[in-house]
Structure formats: C-alpha cells, structure tokens
C-alpha cells in the first residue's frame, strides 16, 4: 500500500497534562500480558472469546429445540420441561451474554481507544475487573445447567408469578442462579460502560472532535449510555424477584392458590415486573442494535469507497433512537392487561421511533448509490444486514399496532420478527465486523473463500429459517409449545414447514463451525494483512504496529485533521485520506468554522 508514504500528523504526549488514571501498566510477564491484563485490546479479546463460547451453548440449544419442533420425539430426552429450559437459556444467553457482551465488551473495548486515538481506556484496572466479573456472571449462569432441577424454564422474560412457582422447571435452583448471574452481569457492565463513555467523552486525541468520531464509536457510545440507564431496571427487578423467591416477599406475587393450596404470597403486582423488565428490555434491543448501526455505517463507507451519506443526521438519528427507546417499552405488554390507554401512547411512540431508524436505512442506501462497491465479505454481510433489518423492521410495524398485535401475540410471527431484527441482523453485523477487523487484531486476513461460503449459507439459511415463521404466525401456531400433537387447527403444511426450518437451522448452525475453523486457522496461517488492508481512513488502521502494541501509538499519539469518511476525494492522489492526514493549506474551507466543519483547530 501507499500507506507508508502518507505524511501523517502526530504529537508527543509526554507533557500530557491529563490525569493518567491508573495509566502506566506496562505488562511484565505472560500472566499480566494475557491473563490479568489491563490492556483494552486483550480485555476485548477475552470478552469476545467468552461471549462466543457461551454463544456456542446457545447455538446447540437452538439445534435441540428445532429438532423437537421439526421432528417431535426424535430426541426423547427433550421433555416439555427441558424444552422450556432450552428456550429460556437460548434467549437469555443470546441477548445478554453474547450480543451485549460482544458488541460493548468486545468491539467497544477494542475499537474505542484505537478509533479515538487514545492509549487505553481511562481506568484500565476497572476495565479489567469488568471482564472478570462478567466471566463470573457467565460461570454462575452455566452452573445452573448442573444444579438439581436444571436451569430455569421461565422463558427469557422470567415473568412472575410463574417463574418462581412450583411446577416451573428450575424453580429450586435455576431461577436463583439466573437472577444472581444477571445482577452480577449488571455490575460488570456498569464498570465497563462507565469506562467506555468517559473515554469517548474525555480522552480523545488532539483534533478528534465528537463530530469527527467514526459512527462505530457513536453507536457504541449511545448504546452504552442506554445500558447505564436501562440495566438498573433489570438489577432492581432481579433483586426484587430474588427476594420474592428466597425471602418470600410479595413484590410481584399476588394471592395464589397452587394445587389447591393457598401460598403465603399476596398483594404484589406481576405487572410491575413486566414494566421494570421492559423498561430494561426495550432499550436492550437498541443496546444491541445501535453498535450494529454504527459498525455497518463504517463498513459500507469503507468497502464502497464513498463518504457516509448524511453523517450529522446519522448521529442525530442515533441520539433520537436512544431517547425514544426509553418511551416505547409497553408495546411488549399489549396483552398484559395494563390500562388500554397505554396501548395508544406506546403504539404512537413505537411508530415515531421508526422515523429515525428509517432515516438511517435511507442513508445507508444513499451511501451505496453510485458507489464503487467492493463485494468483500464485510460488505456482503453489511448488505445482508440492511435487507434483514428492513424485513425485520417491517414486521415490527405490524406488532407495534395494538389491534394487529393482539391476534399475533405469542405466535411464531413474533418469533420471526425479533429474530430477524435483533437476532440475525446484529449477528450479521458482528460477522461483517469480525471479517473487517480480524486483520487488525491478528495481523492476518481471514480466508476469503471460506468467508463467502459462510456468508451465503448464513444469509440464505437464516431467511429459510425465519421467513416461513411469519406464515406460521399468521396460521396461529403458538410459540413456546413443546409439541403440536392433537391441535386440530394446525394444518399439515405447518408440520412440513417446521421440518424444513429445522433442516435449515442445522445447516446454518454447521456453517458457523466453518467460521470458527476459519478464525482458528487464519489466526495462525492466514495471509499477512499489512497495517491497512482495506485502505480505511479511521485511526485504528494507522497504528505503527499491527497488531497494535501496548499503548497503541508508540511514542507519539496521532493528530486528527478530518472526519472518518474521506473516500474518493476528488484530486487526491489516492482514494482515501486517513483521519490523521494533514489538511492542505488553502483547501477552501473557512478557518474560522468550528473544527467539525473544517475550521482550524484552536
């Protein structure tokens, strides 16, 4: 690459007036370098590997569920209780322990300091603790597979009263471990999240204004703030349910007669739990989606060699979605028995949040318009994300309206909707992002042929899995049912369709093993990548070493002169200008303008 020839701006930060936090923590031994590491890059890899390992458990659980639905009775050990335990653990692992941890703990940790030109997070020690506490949460969660009665089968929403009543699987141990694990997870997330937000706000390099941040950083930033404000509701509801279960308080428990026996509970409100849970649960959807939005914006711009369309509007849309995501939660509760007027309010806000979201989709498409699209694997996954997100979002318009939602509630239509929009779509971004940044993390390219194979099987396969589920939902097939024997209204076509979906799910799951093989093999044997294989502008590709060394930048930190999207600039000698590429004198910009509009730095 002509990369080395580019004169780039740096500055010596030895006179850095900043409070260095617990700054200097040069690793001295194998253990401090790879195990108890305070380096954000190592912590990111630890987070990612743990999240993917626990994700494999969720993948196997989904296979088992699909076997039962597609070929009932073929695996005799899947009884109704086990089936519901699989549903619960699959959902909770995917949403919280995989997606949240991978996007924020993994990509957030790796990319934030590199993209903003910092040497590390502001408090590396707290950052390290965040990972180890997260690992503890994962271990407590996984431990519930091995306790008497197994993990909880309450469904990932853990609705009381059923979640803690006798008769629900895992009522003795599983639910306790689940709640404890969630509480620990919130603590871990808070330690990491405070670091991410503070780092982005207060530790950017010279010239890196907020309005020059790559959209990846913006997405992670807004998502982390959502997390810091939404996870408290999960923390509180988890704690209260734990007290209900262990100390027999009745926060969420009404008067109940179970098997002819009146329980000691009374006077609590199950609806209160639903409100608390979804006050966390809906922002959680955007905690998973917004980093994806940000990453996909950068992937599209880089691999289409074109500046992102409407950068400022993309930022404002992220912020608008972030704010609105806190006032839509009760659209998950249309059939809960809450006040019907709530339905009117929350349906309205739900439709309003579609506006900034649609704005982002238009901007991605307009970025691609007449662009020099390179069909690299990250680009393929990005395009697939846009398609999947649009189809998942469209079914959201059905479910957001009360009258349409009521008949569709608790059917496979809902399953199809949320898997498309917050399951498959973010996972596609994660894959694209891994193919994109793997060369920076390891210094080697992932194998392209295996990558394309992985892409096509995953993309077409997930459509084969989830598209037919919309039809199943219209037919009225209920979700979370162990089997459909003897239910008269279910046509034979539904059974055949379920068998088809199961075959597709097995194939897609197997394709993920190819991906894992690709990562393991390419990590050691892949083609050396060089420092900037995609000719990208953002700072993480301009590090003096690949993979970046401890402290990221060598002796001099980079200085930023431009936004992250100077691709295909007319008259420039190459088709991209890195963010630390100095601005020529007299480039027609007003030096008095604010820096994010091209003015000089003050």
């Amino acid at each position: 690459m002509a990369q080395t020839a580019i004169p780039t701006g740096t500055y010596d930060d030895t006179d850095h007036d900043e409070d260095l936090g617990d700054g200097h923590h040069e690793p001295r031994s194998f253990i401090t370098k790879y195990i108890w590491s305070q380096d954000h890059k190592v912590i990111a890899i630890q987070y990612s590997i743990t999240a993917m390992a626990v994700g494999l458990i969720a993948l196997v659980l989904s296979w088992l569920m699909r076997m039962q639905i597609g070929f009932p009775g073929s695996l005799p050990f899947i009884d109704p209780e086990r089936y519901l335990q699989f549903v619960t653990m699959h959902g909770m692992i995917m949403v919280v322990y995989l997606l949240t941890a991978l996007f924020l703990g993994g990509f957030g940790n790796y990319l934030i300091p590199l993209m903003i030109g910092a040497r590390d997070m502001v408090f590396p020690y707290v950052n390290m603790l965040s990972y180890w506490v997260y690992l503890l949460a994962v271990l407590v969660l996984v431990a519930s597979f091995f306790v008497p009665g197994g993990p909880t089968g309450a469904g990932w929403t853990l609705y009381p009263p059923q979640a803690i009543l006798p008769g629900t699987a895992g009522r003795d141990w599983g639910i306790i471990l689940m709640l404890v694990s969630l509480i620990i997870f919130v603590v871990a997330f808070t330690m990491g999240g405070l670091n991410y937000v503070t780092t982005i706000l207060q530790a950017r390099t010279r010239g890196m204004t907020m309005m020059r941040l790559p959209l990846t950083v913006w997405g992670i930033f807004v998502a982390t703030i959502l997390g810091l404000l939404a996870f408290p509701a999960l923390f509180v509801s988890g704690l209260m349910m734990l007290l209900d279960r262990v100390l027999l308080t009745s926060f969420f428990m009404p008067t109940i007669t179970s098997l002819g026996e009146r329980l000691s509970y009374g006077g609590g409100s199950p609806l209160l739990f639903q409100h608390l849970f979804w006050f966390f649960g809906h922002p959680e959807v955007y905690i998973v989606a917004l980093p994806g939005f940000g990453i996909v914006s950068d992937l599209i711009s880089t691999h289409a060699r074109k500046n992102i369309f409407g950068y400022r509007m993309m930022v404002w849309a992220l912020l608008a979605i972030g704010v609105l995501s806190f006032v839509v939660w009760a659209h998950h509760m249309y059939v809960s028995g809450m006040n019907p007027y709530f339905g009117f309010f929350f349906a309205t806000t739900t439709l309003i949040i579609a506006v900034p979201t649609a704005l982002k989709v238009y901007n991605w498409v307009l970025t691609l318009w007449q662009a020099d699209i390179h069909f690299t694997v990250p680009m393929l996954f990005s395009l697939a994300f846009i398609l999947t997100f649009v189809s998942g979002g469209m079914s959201g318009l059905f479910l957001g309206n009360v009258v349409v939602d009521v008949p569709l509630s608790d059917t496979y239509f809902v399953v199809a909707h949320f898997h498309m929009v917050m399951g498959v779509a973010p996972v596609l971004v994660i894959f694209g992002a891994i193919y994109h940044w793997f060369p920076k993390v390891t210094g080697r390219m992932l194998n392209d042929a295996l990558g394309k194979f992985h892409f096509w099987v995953t993309f077409l396969g997930t459509y084969a899995i989830f598209f037919p589920m919309h039809y199943l939902g219209f037919v009225g097939i209920p979700r979370r049912y162990h089997d459909f024997e003897g239910i008269a209204f279910i046509p034979d076509s539904a059974r055949e369709l379920n068998a088809f979906i199961t075959v597709a799910a097995l194939v897609v799951g197997a394709a993920q093993l190819v991906f894992l093989f690709n990562m393991a093999w390419s990590g050691f044997r892949g083609r050396p990548a060089g420092s900037n294989p995609w000719n990208a502008t953002t700072l993480e590709w301009q590090t003096p070493e690949t993979p970046p060394g401890h402290g990221n930048w060598g002796p001099r930190q980079p200085v930023v002169y431009r936004w992250a999207y100077d691709y295909s600039v007319p008259d420039a000698e190459q088709d991209f200008l890195p963010q630390n590429y100095p601005r020529p004198a007299g480039d027609g910009l007003n030096p008095e303008a604010p820096p994010e509009q091209g003015g000089l730095l003050r």
Binding site: D19, L201, R204, L229, T249, Y311, R562, D587, L589, G598
Partner: protein, 232 residues
Amino acid sequence: MAHQGTAGYTAGPSAQAEGWQEIVTDLSADRKAFRNVPWGKAMMWLFLLSDTFVFGCFLTSYMSVRMSNTVAWPNPSEVFALTIGGAHIPLILIAIMTFVLISSSGTMAMAVNFAYRRDRARTAALMLATAALGATFVGMQAFEWTKLISEGVRPWANPFGAAQFGSTFFMITGFHGLHVSAGVIYLSVVALKVARGDYERKGNYQIVEIAGLYWHFVDLVWVFIFAFFYLW
C-alpha cells in the same frame, strides 16, 4: 477544489454559533467534551446518573406496590415513633438520622474546600468527621432495624398492615445503608491517604471532590427516601 471537509459541508464561523448550536460546538470540541473535568470526576458523575436510575426504580416500585395494595398501609409516623422519657414522639429517630446525614454533607463540603487550599490536616480531619457521621447514621439505622424486627416486622409480613411495607422498607433502606457504609469506607481510605500526603506528591486533591460527589448523592437519595417512605 471543492472537496468538502469534515461534516460534508462548510459553514459559517463559530462566532455566529448561538444557542443550541453553541452548546453542540462546545461539547464536540476536540479531546474533551467537558473542559477541566478530570476523568475520575466525569466517571463519578456518570456512575451517579446510573445509580439514580437504580434508586428511581426502587422508589417507583415502592410507590406502585403501595398504591396498588388492597391491604391498608401502616402509618409510618406511628411505626417509627419512639417513646422517650414518657413522651411519644413520631419519627424522632428518623429526624435525628436525617439531621446527622445532612450535617455530614456540610462537613464534606468543608473538606473539599480545604482540599482546594491544600490544607492536609483539616481536609483529613473533616473527611474523617464525615465518615464518623456516616457511621453514626448506619448505627442508628441498625437500631431502627433491630427495633422493628423485635416488633415482628419481617420482609414477608408485619403486624401493622400490608406485607409490602416490611419488604420495601428493608430493601430500600438496606440498599441505601449499603451505599452509606461503602461511602464511610471510601471516605476513610481517602482521608488516610490525604493525611499520609499521597496527593501532595501527585499534586492534586481531585479525589476528595470526587468522593464528595458520591457522598452528597447518597445524602440526596436519603432525602427522597425520607420524603416518600417516611413522610407520605
């Protein structure tokens, strides 16, 4: 060359930026969104924002449970009354506790003031005084818990009325008490480091102010608990 720089378009000078635009320009300056705010202070503010939501959820849940309850809610003035020297005084212990905690915010503010003046001895002494007042608060809370437990109040039931009275009481005051206890430890550690001269060598006393932020927050939360739980 009409290549457009950073945000994709050029705009007027910053001197013309007014109102919201000016705020945006300020916050999006390079390196730091909040100038002269050290990292630790920014992080503490963010933590307190998050913690506000924790206590907000606790108090909202409490209000929701109280309002939707079909069993009569016990009268806090009666439950938390003490008979001292033959006089029956409602809420007397809570009033003293509140006074102690709010006084501790005063000593904390003075400690921050002396930290800015680099007066090591007085800073450390005032911080220890704050911690002592905090410990007194926790001690009185332990007394209050003991009294209620001896009267038969349990998290799952109580003799005065709705069972959720005991549940919310122990949960919310317990969680707040943990915050105070953590603060007492935090303040004591920082006070000892101040006395030892650690920050003299580093050249800044920001940590005193940061610890102060946390302490004032815990104090403020108590005001809300006092208002919503005891006075309602």
